[in-house]
Symmetry: C2
C-alpha cells in the first residue's frame, strides 16, 4: 500500500524486526520489548483496604486457632524453635501472628534471577513480569498425534520453543517425560534446561538428592562458585501446600532446601474454592493467604532473607462435577485480591495463565485471556504456565504454546510506552493530508510505518478471499505449522564448551550412579 | 460430588438459574446480573492528564486551523450560524474552540434509553455498560453454510438471539438483508426489532424518510405520543465521520435528524491509524477526538441537550497490506485513551468488541477478548458489535455470537460485588474442615454451592475422557449447536395486540407506498 521505493517486505524497523526475532533467538541479545515486561498501569483492586485487612485477620485466625498440619519433623522443629505451638501427635502447628510478621519482614520484595546469559537475567517484583512455560502435565498433544503421554523428546521440544520466544523468561517443567525413569528425570530436566535454553531453570522439589543434583547443574551452567551461587538466585521451585492447611514431607523439604540454597521458592497453595477451600472467593483467598504465609514463614525461619514469592492459584470447581475450572469470573477476582495481599506483605506475586479446555479451541483462548488479564492487570510478577497449558494442567499443547505466545506478545506491546509528544500527535500530517485524503503516503507515515504497529505471530489479517484461496487455515492449524517451523529453525544458545563438558560429565556420572534417591 | 439429598442437577440457586435463564427469556423480567452491567473498577488510563490535554489541544488545532469538510448545506448553515468560518467553495468548516466547548457543555452525561418493556430500559453513561449485537456486515456465516450474503431470515435470527440473552441490551443492525430491496430495508429492520425483541432498536441514518419511518415504528411500539417520544430517547443511530475530517450528506442528515427527534446519536469516527488517520496512536486518537467533537457539536447546535455519545473506533491497519486490524495492542491503548477523552468532556463513551479473524477460531476469541478488556477496563458505556462480529465487520457469525455472549456473561459476573463479610470469609468452614479435609460437604458449601459460581453457557469443564466419549466436540461446534437450540426455543416478547396491529399496519402501508426515498 505504500510506494516508498526503499521499502521491502522483509525490510527493517525496530518493532517489525522485533516480531520476527521473536522467532529463533540466534543472537544472545533479546528484544527488550519482550524480554523485559514492565506493567505501566496501577493494579486493579478487588477489595477495599479494610476488606483486605479482614482477609488478613481471617488468615491469622486460621493459623493461630486451627494451625497448619506439617508432616515434616524438620519443618516442625523450625516452627517450634520460633515459638509456634506444635502438637507432635497431630503434627498441627499453630502460628502466632508475631512469628509470621517477623518472618515475612525479612523476605525480599524483589529477587534478581541470574541466567548464564546475563541478557536473560530476570527481576521478580515491582512492576516487572516474568513469564514461564507450562509445567507439569503428564500428557502432550498436538493436532497430528492427539493427546499422549509426555516424552523426553517433547520436553526437549518445549525447551526449544521456550528458547525461541523472548517473551518466555523462565522455564517451567514443561511436560513430564514418562519415558524416563523417575530417579533420572531431574537430571534430564536440568541438562535440557541448561543446554537448550538460557532462561531461568525450574527445579522440582522431589527430595534432597534430586534438588542437590539440579542445583549443581544450574551452578555449573553459570560458572560460579558455590558461595556466589548461594548469593545469586539462579533457579526456582514451586511448593504447593496440600490444601487445606497441610504441608507434606516433600513440600516441606523443598521449602527448606531452597531457603538453604538461597534459590527462589514460590509457595503456591492449591485452593480450589468449594473443594480444597471455602466455596467463597473471599474464604478461599483467606485460606490461600494463610497457607502461603505459613510456608514463606518457614523459608524465612530457615534462612532470613531467603528469596520467596507469594503464589496465588485460587480458582473454583464446577459444582456439578467437582471438576476444576480456570479463567472463570471467580478466578479473575481471586487473582486481583491475591495481588493486593502480596503487595500488602511486600512479596512478589505469582499468578498463572490457565484454562480448563480439552482442546486448543476458542474456550482455551478466552479462558486464558481472562486468566492473563487477571494476572497482568492485577499486577502479577510471575506468570506460571504462561505458554502451553491445556485441560486444567493435564496436557501440554504445542499449538496452545504458540497461541499463548501471541497473546503474551500482545500484552508486552500494550505495556510499551505510547509516545504522545508533538511528533506523535502528528498535526503536521493532518495538515498535509487534510479532509478526505489518506495517510498511506504521508511523510509522517513513511517515517514510521515499519515500526508503528505490532506484527503478529499467529493472527492472519488477510482478507477473506486471500485467506480462502490459501486454504482457509484456522488459527490453531496455523499454530501447528508455526511450532514446527520454530523447532526446525532452533539453534541452542551459545555456551562455553568447558562448561558444557562439565555439565555433560556431571549428569553422566550421576546417571551412572543410578540417579537420585527420591525418598531422601 | 455433593451428597445433599435435596440437590438435583436442575435444582434452584439464583446464579445457576441465572445462567439457564440467560436462555430464551420467556419472562419479561430479566436477570439483573446480565441486564444491568455496572463496572466497579476505576478505568485504566493510557495517558497522563497533561498528555490528554495535549491531545485535546491538538484536536482543537485541527478544527480551528484545518477544519472539517461538511458536504451538507444544512449542516454548514448550523455551523455558520454558530460563528464557524465556513468556505462555501471547499465546504471546509473551521470551528473555534469556544463553539465546541459551548456546544459540548449542553450534551447530557447520561442518557436513559426507553424500551417498550420498562425492564429493558438502559442507562448509557456513568459506570454502566450497554452491549449491542453485531451491526452492519453484508455477510452471514455458520459452520453449516459457510459465508454467504445476509438475508432477512438471518436478520430475524440475530434479533431472536439478541432476545435470548439478557447480556444483550441494545440491538445493532445485525446483518444487511441483501434479499430485501434497499428502500424497504428500514421497514423490515424496524418491524423485526420492535416485534422480535424488547431491546433498544437501532436506526440507520439513510435519509429523512427512512429515519422518520423507523422512528414512527419505535414510537408506536412504545405506545407514547410524539411529544413524549421526543423527550424519551427510545432508539439510537451511529454516525461515522468520513475520516479524515469529513462529514458527508447522509451522515450530516443523521446528526440533524436524531438531534431534532431527541434520539441518541453516537458519533464514531472511523480512524484507522496509518490509513484514515495518522500512523501513531496519539495522532489517530487526536483526529478521532476532533471529528467526534465536530459531529457532537452539530447535534448540540441543532438541539441543545440532544442525547449523544462519543464513539471511539481507532485501530490500526496491517502496514503490509493496508488491511484493517482489530483487538491489537494499539487498539487497546486507543480504547483506554478514548475513554479518558470522553470522560474529560462528560460524554458517554462507545467502544466495540472487534476482531479481524476470518473464522470463529482462536484468533477471533483472543482478539475479541483484547478489545473487550480495552473497552470494559477503559470504562466504556456502550459496546457495539458486542456479539457476532467477525472478519473486521464483513461477516456476522452465528457461532461467534454465542462465543461472545459467553465472554460478556463472564465480564458481567466479574463485575458482581464479591462478598467479603464474616460469612463469606468462612472461618467457621475452615474450623469444620480443618487440615487435609475437603469442603464438598461442609455446611458453608452446602448453603452456597448452587449459587456460588458462574455456570458457563459454552465452556465444557468435563474431564478429557468424558469429553472424548461424547465426541470431543470443540467450543465453536458447541456454539453452533447452542445457537440452533436458542432459535428453536425462541418466543417473541409479549406485546399489546393493538400495538402490534398498528405496527403491522404502518409497515404494510409504507411498503405499499414503495418504501422510502433514500435520496431524501
Amino acid at each position: 500500500m505504500i510506494a516508498a521505493p526503499k521499502r521491502t517486505r522483509k525490510g527493517g524497523g525496530r518493532r517489525m524486526r522485533a516480531a520476527r526475532e521473536a522467532g529463533p533467538s540466534r543472537s544472545a541479545v533479546p528484544n527488550p520489548v519482550y524480554a523485559r515486561m514492565v506493567n505501566p498501569y496501577p493494579p486493579i483492586e478487588q477489595f477495599s483496604a479494610d476488606r483486605i485487612d479482614a482477609i488478613h485477620e481471617t488468615s491469622m485466625a486460621m493459623l493461630e486457632e486451627i494451625g497448619i498440619r506439617v508432616l515434616s519433623n524438620e519443618a516442625r522443629a523450625f516452627y517450634r524453635d520460633a515459638g509456634a505451638i506444635v502438637d507432635e501427635d497431630t503434627h498441627q502447628v499453630r502460628l502466632g501472628r508475631d512469628i509470621i510478621t517477623d518472618a515475612i519482614s525479612s523476605a525480599p520484595a524483589k529477587v534478581m534471577l541470574h541466567s548464564h546469559n546475563a541478557h536473560r537475567d530476570v527481576t521478580v517484583g515491582g512492576n516487572q513480569i516474568a513469564v514461564a512455560t507450562v509445567g507439569g502435565p503428564p500428557n502432550i498433544s498436538d493436532m497430528d498425534g492427539g493427546r499422549r503421554p509426555g516424552t523426553l523428546q517433547d520436553f526437549h521440544n518445549l525447551m526449544r520453543l521456550a528458547q525461541s520466544f523472548d517473551v518466555i523468561h523462565i522455564l517451567g517443567p514443561a511436560v513430564e517425560p514418562l519415558d524416563v525413569a523417575p530417579q533420572m528425570r531431574h537430571l534430564e530436566y536440568a541438562h535440557a534446561m541448561a543446554t537448550l535454553s538460557d532462561r531461568i531453570p525450574f527445579v522440582y522439589s522431589r527430595g534432597h538428592e534430586a534438588v542437590a543434583d539440579a542445583l549443581e547443574v544450574a551452578r555449573i551452567a553459570r560458572g560460579v562458585t558455590p558461595e556466589q551461587f548461594s548469593k545469586e538466585p539462579s533457579c526456582y521451585t514451586v511448593v504447593n501446600a496440600n490444601s487445606p492447611l497441610q504441608l507434606d514431607v516433600p513440600m516441606s523439604r523443598g521449602v527448606i532446601d531452597f531457603a538453604r540454597a538461597g534459590q527462589l521458592m514460590i509457595l503456591t497453595p492449591f485452593t480450589l474454592a468449594g473443594a480444597m477451600a471455602p466455596v467463597t472467593v473471599a474464604g478461599a483467598v483467606a485460606q490461600q493467604n494463610a497457607e502461603a504465609l505459613a510456608g514463606i514463614t518457614l523459608a524465612q525461619l530457615v534462612r532470613p532473607g531467603a528469596p520467596v514469592a507469594y503464589g496465588g492459584f485460587t480458582s473454583n470447581v464446577d459444582m456439578k462435577s467437582g471438576a476444576p475450572a480456570f479463567g472463570t469470573p471467580e478466578y479473575v477476582k481471586a487473582a486481583f485480591a491475591s495481588g493486593q495481599l502480596a503487595r500488602r506483605y511486600g512479596l512478589p506475586w505469582r499468578s498463572s495463565n490457565v484454562n480448563a479446555s480439552n482442546a486448543p479451541d476458542v474456550q482455551s483462548a478466552y479462558e486464558s485471556q481472562m486468566a492473563l488479564w487477571g494476572a497482568m492487570m492485577g499486577g502479577a510478577n510471575i506468570i506460571m504456565h504462561g505458554a502451553g497449558w491445556l485441560e486444567g494442567g493435564l496436557t501440554a499443547s504445542y499449538e496452545k504454546f504458540i497461541i499463548d505466545v501471541e497473546m503474551l506478545q500482545g500484552f508486552a506491546q500494550v505495556f510499551q510506552p505510547e509516545p504522545c509528544d508533538a511528533d506523535a500527535l502528528g498535526l503536521s500530517a493532518v495538515r498535509e493530508v487534510g479532509s478526505g485524503g489518506h495517510y498511506f503516503g504521508a511523510a509522517h507515515t513513511l517515517e514510521r510505518y515499519e515500526t508503528a504497529f505490532y506484527e503478529p505471530l499467529l493472527s492472519d489479517w488477510r482478507n477473506f478471499e486471500n485467506w480462502s484461496e490459501d486454504g482457509a487455515v484456522d488459527a490453531t492449524t496455523r499454530a501447528n505449522r508455526i511450532y514446527k517451523e520454530k523447532l526446525a529453525a532452533f539453534e541452542p544458545p551459545p555456551m562455553d564448551p568447558a562448561i558444557r563438558e562439565e555439565i555433560d560429565a556431571f549428569v553422566a556420572r550421576r546417571k551412572a550412579e543410578g540417579g537420585a534417591n527420591l525418598e531422601n
